[in-house]
Amino acid sequence: MNEQKKYWTDDPELVEKYVLGQLSDEERKRLDAEIADCEPCKAALQRELQLAAGIRRHGRDQLKSRLRLKLRREQSQQIFRYQFVGLAAAVVVIAIGVGVYQVWFSGMEAPKKFKERQIVIKQPEAPQETSKPDDRDGAQGEKDAGKMQKKSALKPTTEKPDVAASQGAAVKKEETITSLSRQGFATLEEGDSETKGRLDKADGGEPVKVKKNIPTQSIWLIGKVVMIENKKPSTLSDVQPQALMGEQSREKATQRNEQRSRTMIVKRGNVDEQIVLQQKSFRDLPRSRQTQIGRKNLVETLVQHNADGLRLTIYSDVISAAEIENATVETAGSDSIIVETGSQRIYYKLPASFQSSTRTRR
């Protein structure tokens, strides 16, 4: 016991406190003075110092390795963030580049998708009819009706029909419409908004929004005309086809045609439906449809329906601009439309297939 307490370094706790710097300055100085003359003390202290240094070294190494790991993780996250930002920037640049390419190198036209999303047809320009009556073959039946629509719709007004017909995609669209219109019913392909837009625009009338994925349905109907006033109407049968008119008369009819349209909002239940009533000259009627004109009290009408509503294009020269302005459209049952144009009422009966896709008829 006395041996153990011979030197202060025999007390392990004291040595530990010395090494860990947990002694007061005075105590430390006292012990230092003892060590100077005590070789065993020096050896014991040296051993403890080495042990503490080694353990601390291990602790530091471990801490540094953890720090390095954290820094690497931080750096990789930073690199990922930079890569992500770089990738996003590249995508934006490519998208802009593609957009610029399409605008500048594809005939200065905006991308098709853009057109599909928002198509607003403006008021029609003054009709610059290029399709003269002579251009059409007389014996093509319903096919001509479709072509008539399509020619005025798909082709630029300054272009001759033959030139536009030679364009690949346009020809395909034409064929689709033509084949459908043979059955008296034309449905444009989904996503074919560009064509639809042009079709509507060429037909004239008020601005019509054509929404994506909703096909436009077109149908030729023959309306029955009933006189509603005592005044003598100018019945359809009394009017000569415009093809037989002189050039001056044709021009007048064309000018009138610009003004003869009316847009009205008709309420059905809680739904507002837009109805565009339009009147066109006989000469705009496809030749195949002109075969019906000879019959009394009948009027050829192109009925088109899309998401925005209904468009009735009446091919008649006897309805005045004022009558169109004051015209009303009503529904009768689920399958009939009645157009009242001042002196006469025109009745239309919709076929079943057309009814099913037509939500409102008034």
Binding site: A53, I55, R56, R57, G59, R60
Partner: protein, 189 residues
């Protein structure tokens, strides 16, 4: 340019985290001083790897002192880190100079050569003790680390290692040191 308030806020946040033992503080301190240290080292014949090693060492020193409660916050942390890095780098440069001694330096500075040798030996012994600690295994390794590295009291060690009380921890520590001594003797130290 950061305002003094920002420096204070950053420093106090780092110190608080260090006191809590949150090692994220190491990363914060490292990142806050990285460019400064890289700039200093590159201006003094070093490269980015040297700067990285020095800064890691300096950050660990701050950690040790804060954990041991011996760190005195008399200046900004960046000032302390910069001074520590400077000292370590100067020492390293001087050592590198001594590692390729000329006849003149040996003849004229024999004491310094001996001191360098001692430092080298101490460094080597430390490495071996660290290796012995790994050999020692758990729970002795953790116990000795807590005692010498984190400088925890016996009460705290008992609590963290779930010993019955401080005396149990003390007894366990004695056993661990004895086992460590045996390993060191076995290693010829």
């Amino acid at each position: 340019m950061k305002s003094p308030l920002q420096f204070f806020n950053t420093d106090s946040k780092i110190l608080d985290l260090m006191k809590k033992g949150d090692e994220e503080a190491l990363v914060m301190l490292y990142e806050a001083n990285r460019r400064m240290v890289q700039s200093y080292v590159s201006r003094n014949s070093g490269n980015d790897d040297d700067a990285e090693d020095l800064l890691q060492e300096a950050v660990v020193i701050v950690w040790e002192r804060v954990r041991a409660g011996t760190f005195e916050y008399s200046a900004k942390l960046s000032t302390f880190v910069y001074a520590t890095v400077q000292n370590m780098w100067r020492r390293k440069l001087a050592r590198a100079k001594r590692e390729t001694p000329t006849e003149f330096t040996i003849l004229n500075d024999p004491e310094e050569s001996v001191s360098f040798l001692d430092e080298l030996i101490e460094n080597e012994v430390s490495k071996q003790i660290a290796a012995a600690l790994v050999k020692l295994g758990e729970p002795c390794k953790t116990l000795l680390m807590l005692f010498y590295w984190e400088e925890c009291s016996m009460e705290e060690i008992a609590k963290r290692m779930k010993f019955a009380n401080a005396d149990t921890a003390k007894s366990k520590k004695y056993q661990c040191k004895k086992a460590m001594e045996e390993i060191l003797v076995g290693m010829g130290i």
